[in-house]
């Protein structure tokens, strides 16, 4: 939190007090808890503790992270402040701010920071902790990620985390540089780079990236693409294994899922909205990459496009980026597994006695993992249905409700209609904001880790 102070002072410092006090409070509480528990034996962390730790850490961090907004008065309602913070840490990027540009720069930097921290945390979570707990997209890749062992958290995890953080920081620097080359000032470059690498989406500008040059938008597209890629692949490229990195089925599917919709949408924009070819392509690829990587930057109001194009974007909200990236949603690998199994089902009908094994990159899949993927799919949809229903109870229309729920669960940011890319979540009922905050958390933690904490069987054992 204290790192935001330099920016605060540079830009006028009205929020400095709030930030300082928040940091103080957080530090004191954190310090005392650590002090009380300092004799705790680390070997006692088992599965159940793991789930609880993950869930409560997130909830509590968001509570303390909301303090700067609340204490400074920039966001007077605590519901709103919590929403914005959860949106930050979960790298969603949905905002309740109607006017971003009047918020003091120190606070805005804190906002961007919440994204960056969330992104760092998620890399560790998805690469190390969640597979240990038994799920998460990366559990499908056990053999690939260095340092991950199935039975216990090994010290090599720390090495893995360090290398991945290194990549993360490196890419952030690279993006800041390229943005500044395009004429963006240092402050804005850092904020946008934080948001892009975390696939969050918060921008210090009201119009997100719409007001910037095509060069900036292409830079953003490129880095959103990289952020949505499995970080293990970046690791491979650094070690010189370029061929291996691009040969995986998930990566190839990721490319397809980006290019095909982008092409369809750009054709539609040219023929039905009279866009110039470059403009159409840029609009299409930027938004498709933004949605798939679950970043949520906007460069125009896609609600003005032909219905079927933003319907495609809505459907893409359920796809997500690659496992092992900072993106959210179902993740491309899960869809690969689902489709392969569908083919097996159909083949099974023709040859009921045949034995079919689903393979990913040549490795046969563990049936337990397959069941997990299917279960996740069912749970994702049911959560989406219930969430949409809850939002309509508060009076929101169907399209906005579905859009809001889909976007928050996937950690994207912009929804549809009244919570669309040029709108915000301010007008929502408080209850809706709490529901969405909870959904952001659920989505970020891949649903099961949250559901488990709420199931009776968990506490019985």
């Amino acid at each position: 939190m204290l790192t935001t102070l330099p920016f605060s002072f540079y830009y006028g410092g009205s929020d400095a007090n709030a930030i300082f006090y928040s940091a103080l409070i957080t530090g004191i509480v954190g310090g005392s808890l650590w002090f009380i528990q300092r004799h705790y034996n680390e070997k006692d962390i088992g599965r159940r503790e793991g789930y609880v730790i993950v869930f409560f850490t997130w909830v509590i961090m968001s509570f303390f992270g909301a303090l700067p907004y609340y204490i400074s008065g920039a966001i007077p309602s605590f519901t709103d402040a919590y929403f914005e913070t959860m949106s930050g840490f979960s790298t969603t990027g949905a905002s309740i701010l109607r006017d971003v540009e009047i918020v003091p720069k120190g606070l805005l930097f804190w906002r961007a920071m919440t994204h960056w921290i969330g992104g760092m945390g998620i890399i560790v979570l998805s690469v190390a902790i969640l597979p240990f707990l038994g799920f998460g997209g990366m559990s499908l890749f056990f053999a690939e990620v260095p340092g991950v062992e199935k039975e216990k958290l090994s010290p090599r995890i720390a090495n893995t985390a360090r290398s991945l953080w290194g990549i993360y920081i490196g890419l952030t620097f690279a993006m800041v540089l390229m943005l500044m080359l395009g004429g963006m000032n240092f402050y804005e470059s850092i904020c946008h780079a934080f948001a892009a690498l975390a696939t969050g989406g918060f921008s210090p500008k009201n119009t997100s990236l719409a007001g910037y040059s095509p060069y900036i938008q292409y830079v953003a597209t490129f880095f959103m693409f990289l952020a949505g890629t499995n970080f293990a692949l970046h690791y491979m490229v650094l070690k010189g294994k370029f061929r291996k990195a691009i040969s995986g089925v998930e990566y190839r599917t990721y490319l397809m899922v980006l290019l095909i919709p982008a092409i369809i949408i750009s054709i539609a924009l040219v023929t039905q909205r009279g866009y110039g070819v470059e403009h159409a392509w840029r609009a299409a690829i930027f938004n498709v990459v933004s949605i798939i990587s679950c970043t949520g930057f906007a460069n125009e109001d896609f609600m003005l496009w032909p219905v079927f194009t933003w319907f495609i974007l809505f459907l893409l909200m359920f796809v997500g980026g690659m496992a092992g990236s900072t993106s959210g949603s179902m993740k491309v690998i899960r869809w690969v597994v689902l489709f392969k199994n569908l083919k097996v089902s159909l083949n099974h009908l023709v040859h009921p006695t045949g034995m079919f094994r689903v393979r990913v990159d040549g490795n046969p899949l563990n049936p337990l993992n397959v069941h997990n993927v299917f279960a996740m799919f069912v749970l994702y949809l049911m959560t989406f249905a219930v969430g949409s229903l809850l939002l309509t109870v508060t009076g929101l229309d169907v399209t906005s409700s579905m859009g809001s729920v889909a976007t928050c669960m996937a950690g994207i940011g912009p929804g549809l209609n009244t919570t669309g890319p040029v709108a915000n979540f301010a007008h929502l009922h408080d209850f809706a904001k709490w529901v969405l905050s909870f959904l952001m958390l659920m989505g970020r933690l891949e649903l099961f880790s949250v559901m488990i904490v709420f199931s009776s069987a968990f506490w019985k054992k």
Binding site: F308, N341, H371, A375, L379, L389, T392, S455, K461
Partner: protein
């Protein structure tokens, strides 16, 4: 390795012939109401005149019977052992298409519809017991054609019961494989003549219920014609009415009668076997049936409360409207007793979500089917438990019996393909210019064989203004949904043809 040439095309032709013969006879029946309601019928034998449908019906019947006879009688004697699963799949899908193609002709010849797209849509909607209509002024359709319309439902319902309880389980698809083969006459290995016995029993139940429904309706003051048409539509869980406003203007008694029979039509027909044999306990203890009843009751109460408290509607009407719409949608009938789009958003969103549940397996209802939803929920709960205790092997149970992982897998796969078809179908509709709500509502409704949708194809509107391509797409949705997706989709795999 067999190829396409090894498929017994004679069996297919013969089956098509048989189907057309049956269809032709049914069309003949429509001449009766046609003559009764058209006083000048023999003086005005003409075509393309919507006021006189006698000649069109006669000609259509003749055409269908002639072609049916040619196909059936001219194909050589069949070796029964040469009808296999592949022939079965082709017969089901192709048969469905063929009877629809021919069944649409009466609408065209009588001039009631001008576009064949419309006629085909209406006929497909009839046979799949969907009940989505392109007509605005239903009451001005001549009575013979209107009767044919209702009959398409009834025939579709009859067909679907036999299909889902006897034929599809043998082929390996459909929801009845989720149960033990309790239905007499069904042997999993080959199509046997005992299918005829099973079919007879099922049809017996179906016909009896239809007669009962007709009687109850007539007791409420409805004339024979309307009673029959509505009974046809109810037992088939179709939804075609004879009035412009569906059933909204009918008396509360009539609406409650329809609720009862819609409910009965949505029950697994094999359970009626148990009831007939006196085994009531088995029927009442059936888990799917209980879930079905609980769902209906629970949601109706929620919606009724919402209507009473937030909308100020009088208690009896709120309860009746809520119960009626909930039963109508869950059983996938699609009768409309009130414009549910005037309800608060979250209440009709519940209706939309119910479009994905469907009736019980082995009934005339469509959709995903209650038993699959039950298994999906049970499996999800077990997944959570398995995460906490990964070493424990906890199976899913239904009615006390263990459900194998293979079956669970099929249910999951079905759910997945249903959602994907829904998503792609909705995308298709948006591409044709429909708005978000109308697209998802129309596709959900047709895929689930319900009828009324949302937005511009809502309960008090119709599908008339949907672009032609959209009507074809929705017709496809209807057929896919009715035949439980895999039955049709298997025809598109290379493995099927290269067996």
């Amino acid at each position: 390795m067999s190829t396409i040439r090894d498929i017994n095309q004679y069996a297919i032709f013969k089956a098509m012939g048989a189907l057309l013969l049956i269809e032709g006879i049914f069309i003949l029946f429509c001449l009766i109401p046609s003559a009764i309601y058209d006083s000048e019928c023999l003086n005005s034998l003409r075509l393309f005149d919507p006021k006189h449908d006698f000649l069109p019906l006669l000609l259509c019947s003749g055409l269908t019977l002639i072609i049916g006879s040619i196909l059936f009688f001219s194909t050589k004697k069949l070796n029964k052992n040469s009808i296999g699963k592949r022939e079965g799949y082709i017969i089901v899908s192709l048969g469905w298409l063929v009877i629809t193609l021919f069944g649409a002709v009466p609408y065209m010849l009588s001039g009631v519809t001008v576009s064949y797209t419309d006629a085909f849509f209406e006929t497909m909607s009839g046979f799949t017991t969907t009940g989505a209509t392109i007509f605005t002024y239903i009451e001005s359709i001549p009575k013979g054609i209107l009767f044919w319309r209702a009959l398409t439902h009834w025939i579709g319902g009859m067909g679907i019961i036999v299909l889902s309880l006897a034929v599809l389980p043998i082929l390996g698809t459909g929801s009845m494989q989720l149960f033990d083969a309790e239905v007499p006459g069904v042997s999993v290995d080959k199509i046997t003549p005992r299918i005829a016995i099973t079919a007879k029993h099922l049809w017996g139940i179906y016909v009896s219920l239809t007669i009962l429904c007709t009687a109850f309706l007539m007791a409420g003051g409805m004339n024979l014609y309307d009673s029959l048409c509505h009974a046809f539509a109810t037992l088939a869980t179709g939804g075609f009415g004879t009035k412009n406003d569906s059933v909204a203007s009918f008396s509360p008694y009539i609406q409650y009668v329809l609720v009862l029979f819609m409910f009965l039509a949505g029950v697994n027909f094999s359970l009626y076997f148990f009831a007939l044999k006196g085994k009531f306990q088995r029927m009442i203890k059936n888990e799917e049936l209980r879930s079905y009843a609980k769902l209906i009751l629970g949601v109706s109460i929620v919606i009724a409360l919402g209507l009473i408290l937030r909308h100020g509607i009088p208690v009896e009407k709120a309860f009746r409207d809520s119960l009626f719409q909930v039963v109508s949608i869950i059983t996938t009938t699609g009768f409309v007793s009130t414009n549910y789009l005037t309800w608060p958003v979250y209440l009709w969103l519940i209706i939309f979500l119910l479009m994905f549940t469907g009736g019980c397996a082995g009934s005339t209802g469509g959709g995903i089917k209650i038993v699959r939803i039950v298994l999906l929920i049970k499996n999800s709960k077990l997944e959570l438990k398995r995460m906490i205790h990964p070493q424990a092997l906890i199976p899913v149970r239904l009615d006390g019996k263990v459900i194998s992982q293979g079956v669970i897998f099929n249910v999951l796969a079905f759910f997945l393909i249903y959602i994907i078809v829904f998503a792609l179908g909705s995308l298709g509709m948006t591409m044709l210019g429909l708005d978000f709500e109308s697209s998802i509502g129309g596709v959900a409704s047709c895929l689930g064989n319900i009828g009324p949708g949302l937005g511009s194809i809502g309960p008090v509107l119709n599908y008339g203004l949907v672009p032609d391509l959209g009507k074809w797409l929705l017709s496809l949705m209807m057929m896919l949904g009715r035949l439980e997706l895999f039955t049709v989709l298997i025809l598109f795999t290379s493995a099927f043809w290269n067996k």
